[in-house]
Amino acid sequence: MSTRVMPFRGSLTSREQVSVYEFSWAAIIFIPLVAVLIQIFISVKVRFLPIVDLPFMVTIFFATARRNPITGCLTGCVIGLMQDLFAGPSHYLGMYGIALTIIGYLASSLGVKIDVDNPGSRFLITFGFFGLHQGVYYGVAHYLLRQGLQWSWSHMAISALANATIGIFVYKFLDRFKQK
């Protein structure tokens, strides 16, 4: 069993210790890759899929499971850059990279402090971080690159809700790859 335990540094839950999971190299490489590919190619057939952000969910999953801010932000960076590669011509490499780097860092930092293994907290984390993810992306596009993006609170809320709901099942599925 490769699960480690680490002490809480700000006890926000009743537990005193949280588990730090590890993954095989194959899972670390292929899960993000498959998530990005599904996002890109399956959405040809399933057109609501762009609302659902699988790479974002995978970033949160790895960050909260491994609970290491450095690996969290590196994972987010890599997954975000992969997502950037397939985006449109007006999309610069690094836009998703920056957003997911921050998300990876914050999710893993949060994972150290609270229990992120139950569905309720996963729902809330995904919901909240999705809004942050969209906000960072918008900020980069609007303020750094001067792109005229439109911001819609309602659309963002619906997307966040959808991601948080679907995320519960995605995380449940991905839990199988945790090494114990």
Partner: protein, 442 residues
């Protein structure tokens, strides 16, 4: 120092990664696509992934085709019957449309309009999307190896899809019309108001830059205007769903695209567009129904009186002829219009058989000035035309450029430029002229 680095190690790593990415962004912005490195890494990524996806999609299509073509044949006969019935209906419709098209071509030839034709297309399959909401780009399985270049139009039979944004060896990236960075020159089909069709982050398309004092009715069709030099003019774009006053004196017109942008599987890439003049020679003879169809409500118009006291319409060009104000037995043909004639309206003097006068052959003669009996009689009651007086030779309003011995001709619209080969080719002594070589109609 060690304590500082150790304490803030995580934050420092985060800052370093973000800094590196921001620097990377800045480099890209300064050198967008021709810098090589960015372009190359995208090229590598897309080139590495698209063959896999192509294989998956084509395998899926193959299995689907196997099922639908060989196994799932239930209901094919019934469907065949329905299709035949539909074809019969469409043939009837096609006949009507062909008549309209002929008329349009005649009018275009009269006005020396150049038409854009789609010369060649390449069929391509949609194999991927950007996978994000911020970008709605599509990937197709044809690239530079197939002759695709950037800025080519991508269409479906239903309507336009977008344009080629980036080209890779075996795949291309399509910027659809509902992407927020897309812009298409579009016009409302009926009112001909022109604007720019733009996408949005939500995928909704709006027609912009149409003044708010214009009236736009929901349901009106939107077509390409050809102004963007990418899409040929007249391709279906979509339909107006709503129109309401927006910011800055412009209407906010929401348009639903004709093409099913969220269900695209196959598209056509327009690889060649040619411009050519429509040829009026091949249109065939006019029929009585055409003449009747072109008639408009008659409004009496003023005629000029020349020095000799002959009434003369403004748009008349054939010298030696003068309108006499009565049905003098000539039959000015609908398709003959002189310089200054209004598009779409030819000389529509009804060709009732005037006894005693030369029956004028019906000809399609773009640019021809007039069709007359060659007489320059100032009076309608000349002996030669006397028997025909009172026949229904009535020129319609706006049908200028015709001199006939029939009713008073009408002034020419001032907006229209005369055809270059117009009046001089119609000598007065010729009963009918046909510079375009159109065959006379009995």
């Amino acid at each position: 120092m060690d304590t500082f680095l150790g304490r803030y190690r995580n934050l420092l790593v985060l800052a370093a990664i973000l800094f590196a990415q921001i620097i990377g962004l800045a480099l890209q912005v300064r050198r967008p696509t021709d810098s090589g490195e960015t372009r190359l890494i995208r090229l590598w990524a897309v080139s590495a992934v698209t063959p896999i996806e192509s294989a998956v999609i084509h395998t899926q299509e193959w299995v689907k085709n196997l099922w639908t073509t060989y196994i799932y044949l239930h209901g094919v006969r019934r469907e065949n019957r329905e299709l035949r019935a539909e074809i019969a209906q469409m043939k009837i419709e096609e006949t009507r449309l062909a008549e309209d098209a002929r008329m349009a071509r005649r009018i275009q030839s009269l006005l020396a309009f150049k038409e854009q034709y789609i010369d060649s297309t390449i069929a391509a399959q949609v194999i991927g999307t950007s996978g994000s909401e911020q970008s709605r780009v599509l990937y197709i399985d044809k690239g530079s190896n197939d002759g695709i270049t950037t800025d080519m139009a991508v269409i479906t039979p239903g309507g336009i899809v977008g344009k080629i944004a980036q080209v890779f060896p075996d795949s291309s990236q399509v910027l659809p019309i509902n992407d927020q960075f897309s812009g298409v020159g579009a016009a409302l089909k009926d009112s001909r108001l022109q604007g720019i069709l733009k996408g949005s982050p939500s995928g909704a398309t709006t027609l912009q830059y149409i003044m708010s004092d214009e009236k736009v009715v929901p349901g009106e069709e939107v077509v390409t205007s050809g102004g963007d030099r990418i899409f040929p003019k007249g391709l279906p774009v979509g339909k107006v769903v709503s129109s309401e006053p927006g910011k800055d004196l412009f209407l906010n017109i929401r348009v639903v695209p004709s093409a099913q942008l969220d269900q695209l599987e196959e598209v056509l890439v327009v690889t060649k567009i040619t411009e050519k003049m429509p040829d009026a020679k091949d249109l065939g003879p006019l029929r009585a129904s055409d003449i009747l169809a072109e008639r408009l409500p008659s409004v009496p118009t003023k005629t000029e009186v020349d020095a000799a006291g002959n009434a003369k319409p403004e748009g008349a060009a054939a010298s030696g002829t003068a309108p006499t104000g009565t049905g003098a037995g000539t039959a000015a043909h609908p398709a003959t219009a002189g310089p200054g004639s209004k598009p779409g309206v030819g000389a529509t003097t009804i060709p009732n058989k005037p006894a005693g006068a030369a029956a004028t052959p019906h000809t399609i003669s773009p640019g021809a000035a007039a069709e007359t009996n060659g007489t320059a009689k100032p009076k309608a009651t000349s002996p030669a035309n006397g028997r025909a007086a009172g026949t229904a030779a009535t020129a319609q309003p706006g049908e200028a450029g015709v001199q006939s011995n029939g009713a008073a001709s009408t002034p020419a619209p001032k907006r229209v430029k005369p055809a270059p080969e117009a009046a001089p080719s119609a000598p007065p002594e010729q009963p009918s002229t046909s510079p375009a070589g159109a065959p006379p109609q009995p």
